[in-house]
Each structure stands twice: as structure tokens, then as C-alpha cells.
């Protein structure tokens, strides 16, 4: 009996008789299952490593009794809490002890999800076909015709039908062992003891999730003497909830998790941080575009790479010791249709990261050009894909408009994915935001795991630059 506290200090502060007796009604099945659980823990020698999660329901106070780690969970969530414990300490044996309202009604999602996850925890499910704690209302497992406080004329079809949890859980791929047992006879109690022990053993060995449904007596709300309640469970409940093993698969131990890693080196590598200083190429902030804060908009459709190009500009700015921000348009609007990004490059700090009126617009298609062209500031610059958008109407005369066939050039290079790099090259030539080297440094950083693609990107960037320069030269003529 060592797994029970010598004195139930938590039961009304252990005063008087409560220090040694349970809060359960006379003849209640809970006490018996507590004894079986205690026995299993003792026999397996795991008392020091066990955490028992008690539910909401009559067994809410299971933690009064078990001299193990104890957590009391919110209604229905014991299995989710148990998983939280198991993940925190894979060495621990975690038992989720739940009644029918908790497990099969309010907590159904958590119950099924934990079972299907299959991580080794043990769920002990007390099915007594009625709500105990709240005073005899209908449970999800209440039998058809059974009278309860909320099915006063007997459960009928309008109340739905009793849910067979052991069968439901056994259907899932996650669990390794599912059995339904009962408490009404010496032989059944022995089977129950064996099942509970096996369920915990399987967890201890890291083999997987186990589920034991126990048909239990609630003499109080069945309004029967305990021996009548035993007979009732035997005669009525087992017809709907047949006893026996529902699933028992042999699985090799698999749940062995390493201790979390706290090595500086591994961490720095994982987050992609680098100690290598990036070379600076800018002599000064590009104040010819805006004295302190240059605002850009990049717009195209899904596959144009506008977001990547935006990221590269922000990275380039930060590499040069300026501030840079990038905000993508996100969500449903980013699926198909227009994909646009707001970018800022600031001398000290970006104050307004949105770009409702950009200094520079990089447009990958005609709708973007039409939508955002009108928002560009006076004296600003528009660079657009002239392979897609033709016949660009002159905007404000102070705005420089540069058409470069991003798509054609990228197609010519044989890789459409570099379209955005062509565009960045054009942007560089048209605005002189940063020197070419600054852009290319950012591109190389982004491709550090795909170095073979660097020459192609370099080529694309240069081609974009050349085309923009040619366009501008042509315009002057």
C-alpha cells in the first residue's frame, strides 16, 4: 500500500477520519480502481517516476491519495495535460485518470488526439454510465432507457446513443493496447488488475499509448445498494459495452527521446546566425532617393518572387548598417492573385513600415502596375516587367518609368525563378539604391546552402542592370 499516502493530508487537511478514508461514496468503483492502480505502480517499482493526472468529476481528488507526482487538469483535458508531462519528462510514467463525462464528452477531441498520437501514456477510463459529481445527469455512456436527472423518462434516441470508447479507441492506429474490464466479481477484478498493470508496463517500456476502460459502479446515482449496482453493471452495461481486449499489438519500444540540446554551437547554426562580418559597399545612405527613409513597394503575382526580392533588399540594407523592414501582404490574398510587399530602407530607424505611397515601385505585372502606379510619390521611380505590361501610359511627368522584360530575360537564361533577380538588377540600375555588390552579397547569403546557383543569379542580376541602362539610354535619345 506504499503508493497511497500514509495520511491523506489533502483530504480536508487530513483531519479526523478523512486522513485515512476516501471521499468516495460507499461501494464506489473509483476506490477499487485506485487500489488496482496503486498496486500496479508498486509492483512495477515506478512510484518515484509517476505523474497521475486527475480529471474533473468524482475522481477530481485522486491526488488526495496517490503518493506520486500529481496534477489536476481542467474538465476533459487530462490526456492533453498528460502529454505535456510526458513530453517534458519522457522518463516519467504518466497516467491520465478520467471519468465518462470528462473523457467521452467534453474531452473527446483531446482523448482521440492523444490516442492517435500514440505517445506512451496510460489512460484509465472509468465508465459508470452516469455523471457522479454534478449529481446523476446523463453521461455520454448512459444506456438507452436509463433514467437520469437529464433523461428523466429514460435515454431515448433524441439523446443520442451510448458511446463505446474502447471500440472507438481500438480503431485508431496510435494505441498499442486497449481493453475493457469490470469490477463486479473476483475474477473480473483480477483481470482488471492485470490489464492496468500491463497498460502501464507498455508505457514504461516506451511501446506506446494504452487505454483501459473500466465498467464501474456508481451506487449513489444508480440509486442501488452496491451489490445491486454490481449486478446492474454485469447485466446491463456489459451488453452494450462488452468486456475484453479490443486491441493488443506488439510494438518494439520506440519512444526514447534525447535530452534537449543547449549547445551554443548547435543553436547558432540552427537559427542561421553567422559570426562572419559582411563587407560594406555603400559610402553613404542613398539620400538621393529620400533623405532618411526610402519606401518601396514590390508587387506581382504568386510565383514572381516579389517577397524574396523584398527580403533581399531589407537584408542588403541591414548589411550596410542601415535599418530595413519588409512586410508581405499575407493570407488568402497571397494565394494566387496579387502578392505584394512593403519595404523600407532607413538611415537610422524605419518608423513607418507600410508603403502606401512608395518612392519606388517594382511591378511584375500589369494589374500591379495599374493598382500601385498611381500611388508612387512625385519624383519617384517605377520599374516594371515590359514583357507582360505593354503600353504604359505616362504617369506624373516627374516619375521615372523604366520598362525591362524580366520574364523574357529570365526565360532566355533558362530559369524563370531568377525573374526577381533580373528585376533587382533593373532596380539597381534605375535607382542606384545600393551598389551591385551590396545586392549580390545579400543574394549569396540567401544561397549559402545552394552555392551552385550563384553564377546564374549573378548573370540574371547583370542582365537586368544592362537592360535598364539600355532603356534609360534609349529614352534620353
Amino acid at each position: 500500500m506504499s503508493v497511497f499516502y500514509d495520511k491523506f493530508e489533502r483530504h480536508a487537511h487530513g483531519e479526523g477520519l478523512k486522513g485515512q478514508s476516501t471521499h468516495y461514496c460507499a461501494g464506489c468503483g473509483h476506490g477499487l480502481v485506485h487500489k488496482l492502480l496503486s498496486q500496479a505502480i508498486e509492483e512495477l517499482g515506478i512510484q518515484d517516476n509517476t505523474v497521475i493526472v486527475s480529471p474533473v468529476g468524482c475522481s477530481v481528488f485522486a491526488y488526495y491519495y496517490f503518493d506520486t507526482g500529481n496534477t489536476q487538469a481542467a474538465h476533459g483535458r487530462a490526456a492533453a495535460v498528460a502529454l505535456g508531462h510526458k513530453m517534458a519528462n519522457p522518463e516519467a510514467t504518466v497516467v491520465s485518470y478520467q471519468g465518462d463525462g470528462d473523457l467521452a464528452s467534453i474531452g473527446l477531441a483531446e482523448t482521440v488526439a492523444a490516442a492517435q498520437l500514440g505517445a506512451p501514456i496510460t489512460v484509465i477510463f472509468i465508465n459508470n454510465a452516469i455523471y457522479g459529481m454534478t449529481g446523476g445527469q446523463m453521461a455520454p455512456t448512459t444506456l438507452m432507457g436509463q433514467t437520469t436527472a437529464t433523461s428523466p423518462d429514460g435515454r431515448n434516441q433524441f439523446n443520442g446513443q451510448p458511446i463505446k470508447m474502447a471500440e472507438l479507441i481500438a480503431q485508431l492506429d496510435g494505441p498499442v493496447y486497449v481493453e475493457r474490464v469490470a469490477l463486479y466479481s473476483p475474477a473480473d477484478r483480477k483481470k482488471a488488475a492485470k490489464a492496468i498493470k500491463k497498460a502501464i508496463q507498455l508505457q514504461k517500456e516506451g511501446r506506446g499509448y494504452s487505454f483501459i476502460e473500466v465498467l464501474a459502479e456508481c451506487p449513489t446515482h444508480l440509486k442501488m445498494a452496491p451489490d445491486k449496482a454490481e449486478a446492474w453493471v454485469k447485466e446491463n452495461m456489459t451488453k452494450i459495452f462488452p468486456l475484453g481486449v479490443k486491441k493488443d499489438t506488439t510494438v518494439e519500444p520506440w519512444f526514447n527521446r534525447p535530452q534537449p540540446c543547449f549547445k551554443a554551437e548547435t543553436f547558432v547554426k540552427a537559427v542561421g546566425a553567422s559570426s562572419e562580418a559582411v563587407q560594406k559597399h555603400c559610402k553613404a545612405f542613398p539620400s538621393h532617393l529620400n533623405p532618411a527613409d526610402i519606401s518601396l513597394k514590390l508587387a506581382g503575382s504568386g510565383g514572381d518572387g516579389a517577397q524574396t526580392a523584398a527580403m533581399l533588399i531589407a537584408t542588403a540594407a541591414i548589411n550596410e548598417g542601415f535599418d530595413g523592414t519588409h512586410i508581405p501582404a499575407y493570407g488568402p490574398e497571397s494565394r494566387g492573385g496579387t502578392s505584394y510587399a512593403d519595404v523600407h530602407v532607413a538611415k537610422d530607424e524605419v518608423l513607418n513600415p507600410a508603403s502606401p505611397t512608395p518612392d519606388i515601385l517594382l511591378a511584375f505585372n500589369a494589374p500591379s502596375l495599374a493598382k500601385f502606379g498611381v500611388t508612387v510619390k512625385k519624383g519617384g521611380c517605377i520599374i516594371y516587367d515590359s514583357s507582360i505590361a505593354k503600353d504604359v501610359k505616362p504617369m506624373d511627368p516627374s516619375i521615372t518609368v523604366v520598362g525591362v522584360p524580366f520574364t523574357e530575360i529570365a526565360a532566355g537564361l533558362g530559369k524563370m525563378v531568377v525573374k526577381n533577380i533580373v528585376a533587382l538588377g533593373a532596380l539597381q540600375a534605375a535607382t542606384n539604391l545600393f551598389p551591385k555588390e551590396t545586392f549580390m552579397a545579400a543574394v549569396k547569403q540567401a544561397l549559402k546552402d545552394k552555392a551552385s546557383l550563384i553564377p546564374l543569379n549573378e548573370q540574371a542580376f547583370q542582365a537586368g542592370m544592362d537592360a535598364a541602362q539600355a532603356f534609360l539610354a534609349n529614352k534620353k535619345k
Binding site: L17, H85, P356
Partner: protein, 463 residues
């Protein structure tokens, strides 16, 4: 004293018998019988044993639901002994007094700044303080946080578990936090609503954990653009009962990292969840983020239910059945909340001589900062007061500004002025009566107040 046989006979302290009779029917020898004598101590009717024919089969013991009901006599136990206090004694539980497993600081090499999204920055902040257990349910615009965790945690032998719902998420956190380890989640407004029951339980059971709520437009499904309409939830609606959490409102990707680290520190310091309210823009925004010079390997606190001998005697629970106990606990919580006042933080910008004080949090604070600069250029003495904690509200810091403040202008992204409500409540509680006129620039529905709107508003006041 009769000699103990190999198979011990049952023994019963009548005080611990509830008279259920489950033992009666199993004894084929008829040794156990119902009685009609009421036990004067319990008011129940215990069974009576006549063990003359007893074979020591043990079936009655197995049938008894009471842990200290029918028992087998153990070797050396005195059959005649009837006094339960002597029988079970005041034996202390064998579990030891838990000792703290201390945290360790691990130096990091100096690195170049990262260029990352706010959501990523927050995730990296959590990893830096040693969080290796992250649970979550995907929801825009917070999902990148969970995605990065799913990518990085396996490399750090940590756990990312995509939960079946936000309800499950917060309860996984309750388990891991209860085990004494740092844990967190990323969510956004509708998901945060779903987690609130669990937050209340965590407060009640004193379980630490960090919630990053990247706020979006509501009510209902609303939209996925930024809003600041969960301030009321974080400050006054964290589930049922008397629950409060320190609530931080970052305004840059760098602060997403810094404040996430701070959130964990505060969460463990006070054994209470901590909320980070970001906005959709900030979560998605990429910016410059510098890593600190160390990271932390967390220890295990003494109160944890870790599942080892050291912590065996512990309990994580929020139930206080006796009214007096719950009153005592709530007064204790009240004291704890009072002690959190020292964590109130605010940042100011050009506020030293400001006559017009803009007040803003999150991304709108950036627009407000831009507006301050713009207004200064036009000769208007504007300044920014940015609460970094919205709960507790940095009232002392605000009070220090008031003697010079002629007007307060609230800049926020919700329809009703939720940040303004916090400010007014804090002023009122602090007994400040000389309050300058308060006006506001508000946008909502996913739109943020713009710098030009703020500037125009302030200029219109001057007229």
C-alpha cells in the same frame, strides 16, 4: 496474539469501513456480515468479521474499495491494535523535500544581426531562454512562429507538437509548465479566445508559460489583418475568476525577441503565465534582430511535478474546495499581482519637454514615432509615450510626464480605444485628477493609423 499464518487474514479498522458490503458477497466462508450497529465515530454501519472459518483467500480485501479498509495484516503488525493514529501514525511521506535544479548560462559567440520576421524573432527568443517544448495550432498571422519551431526544435532535441486545437495546446502547456519547464505557443485572436479557460487554470495552479498573441481583426472570424482589439481580453478577460497576467506589447522584431525572453523570466519569477500582444504587421514584418551574448539552459524549480523522486510530493492544481482556503489563495494572488507592479515598463521618445504626448503600442507606436519627428520639424513639441507593459500599466512613468503634458493623443488600432481605457483606468486608480484632454487617432478592421493621420490630427488640435 494469534500466530500469523502464511496467508494473512483480513483486518478491518471499523472507522474506515463504509459498510458498502462489497466484501460480504465474495466470502464463501460467510465470515463477513452486515451489522445494524452504527459506528459512533462515522455514523456509518461497518461490517463485522468473524474469522474463525477464514482461509485467508484475500478475496474480500480485493473487493474493498477503501485503501485503508480491509487489509491484510503485515508481518509484525499487531492484530489487537485498534488505534489508527498508532497504526498508521504520523509517518511523514517518504518523498524528500525538493531541491532546486539551477539554470545555467551558456555564452554565445558574437554574431551578425539576423534579418527575420517578428514571429521568427519571438520563436528564437524562446529558444534562447531554453524553451524546448512548444505547442500550437496554426492560425494566421502567427503561424510562422510555430513553423520555425517545428523546423528548429528537432535540431535541438526539443518538442514541437501540433495540437488538435487551441484548447489542447494550452493544456499541453499546463502539463509541461507544471513539470517546471519553459513552454510557449503562438496564436492569434480567435485562437487566444479558445485558450483562455486554460490560462485561468494556469493562473490558479501557478503554472508558468508564454502566450504570443499576434492580434488580428475581430470579432468572430474578422480578418487576418492587424488589430489591437485583444487588449481588453489580456488586461481584464483572461478566463474566469481572478486572473491577471503581465502583458507585453512589442513594437519591433528586435523587441519580439527581447520581450519573449523577458516574458519567460517573468513567468517563472512569478509562477504565472505571461502574455505577449503583438499585431499582425509586427508578426509578419522582417527587420534587424541582434542576438544576445548568452542563452539559458533551464533548471527545474522546487514546485514542479517533473515525475521524479525529487519532485514526488508536489501537486499542480487550482482547486481550493474550502471557502477559507480559496479566499486565502485569492488574497495571496492579489498580493502577487500587486508585486508585479514593479515590472511596469514604458519607453519614451522626445518626451522630456513634450506638451503633446502621443500614446501608442506595437506597430502604431512606430507610426506615432514618425509623427513625433515630423511634428518636431514643424516646431510642435510632441513626444511619444509607449507602454511596453499594458498590464500592469506603467502609471508611474506616465505620471512623471503629466506636469508638462497639455494634451494626450491616443494612437491605436481598435474601434473603442482599448489602450485608452487602460490609461484612464490607471489614472483613476492612481487618483490623478488633473488629466489633460485626451483625443485619439483610431483605425480598425485591419487598418493601422498612419503617420500622416497622426500628424494631421495633432495639427488640427493646434488650430
Amino acid at each position: 496474539m494469534p500466530e500469523l499464518k502464511e496467508r494473512p487474514k483480513p483486518y478491518l479498522v471499523p472507522d474506515y469501513c463504509k459498510g458498502c458490503g462489497r466484501c460480504v458477497s465474495v466470502c464463501v466462508k460467510g465470515c463477513i456480515a452486515f451489522s445494524d450497529e452504527i459506528n459512533p465515530v462515522t455514523g456509518l454501519v461497518p461490517v463485522v468479521l468473524d474469522l474463525e472459518k477464514c482461509t485467508g483467500c484475500g478475496l474480500c480485501i480485493e473487493a474493498c474499495p477503501e485503501p485503508y479498509g480491509l487489509r491484510a495484516l503485515e508481518q509484525g503488525e499487531d492484530f489487537e491494535l485498534q488505534d489508527p493514529a498508532k497504526l498508521f501514525g504520523e509517518k511523514p511521506s517518504a518523498a524528500p523535500k525538493p531541491v532546486e535544479v539551477p539554470a545555467k548560462q551558456i555564452p554565445l559567440p558574437k554574431t551578425e544581426p539576423l534579418v527575420i520576421k517578428g514571429n521568427y524573432a519571438s520563436a528564437i527568443g524562446a529558444l534562447l531562454v531554453g524553451c524546448r517544448h512548444v505547442y500550437g495550432y496554426p492560425i494566421t498571422p502567427s503561424t510562422e512562429g510555430a513553423e520555425l519551431m517545428a523546423k528548429l526544435l528537432p535540431k535541438l532535441d526539443g518538442v514541437f507538437l501540433q495540437a488538435v486545437s487551441e484548447v489542447a495546446t494550452v493544456n499541453h502547456m499546463y502539463g509541461t509548465g507544471g513539470a517546471g519547464l519553459p513552454t510557449m505557443t503562438f496564436t492569434s485572436s480567435p485562437g487566444f479566445s479558445l485558450m483562455l479557460e486554460g490560462v485561468s487554470y494556469m493562473v490558479g495552479a501557478e503554472v508558468p508559460g508564454v502566450f504570443v498573441n499576434v492580434m488580428r481583426g475581430g470579432p468572430g472570424l474578422g480578418n487576418i489583418a492587424p488589430e489591437q482589439a485583444d487588449v481588453k481580453l489580456a488586461c481584464h478577460g483572461l478566463g474566469h475568476g481572478y486572473s491577471h497576467c503581465i502583458t507585453l506589447m512589442p513594437s519591433t522584431p528586435q523587441e519580439m525577441l527581447d520581450l519573449t525572453m523577458l516574458a519567460f523570466e517573468l513567468s517563472f519569477k512569478y509562477r504565472n503565465p505571461v502574455i505577449i500582444l503583438a499585431d499582425g504587421y509586427l508578426g509578419q514584418m522582417t527587420g534587424k534582430v541582434q542576438l544576445p551574448d548568452h542563452m539559458t539552459e533551464p533548471g527545474i524549480p522546487t514546485w514542479a511535478v517533473y515525475g521524479d523522486l525529487n519532485h514526488r510530493k508536489n501537486l499542480i492544481a487550482s482547486i481550493q474546495l474550502l471557502e477559507q482556503d480559496l479566499e486565502k489563495f485569492n488574497l495571496y494572488l492579489h498580493g502577487k499581482y500587486e508585486s508585479m507592479q514593479v515590472e511596469a515598463r514604458a519607453e519614451t521618445f522626445m518626451a522630456d519637454d513634450a506638451e503633446i504626448l502621443l500614446v501608442a503600442c506595437n506597430t502604431p507606436a512606430r507610426a506615432a514615432k514618425g509623427a513625433v519627428q515630423n511634428l518636431r520639424e514643424q516646431g510642435i513639441k510632441a513626444g511619444l509615450f509607449r507602454p511596453v507593459t499594458i498590464w500592469p500599466f506603467p502609471i508611474e512613468q506616465l505620471k512623471a510626464q503629466l506636469p508638462r503634458t497639455k494634451r494626450i493623443v491616443m494612437v491605436e488600432a481598435n474601434a473603442s480605444g482599448q489602450i485608452e481605457n487602460e490609461l484612464r483606468l490607471a489614472l483613476s486608480k492612481a487618483g490623478v485628477t488633473a488629466i489633460p484632454p485626451i483625443t485619439h487617432v483610431r483605425r480598425c478592421g485591419g487598418l493601422l493609423p498612419q503617420q500622416t493621420e497622426v500628424v494631421d490630427h495633432v495639427l488640427s488640435l493646434a488650430k
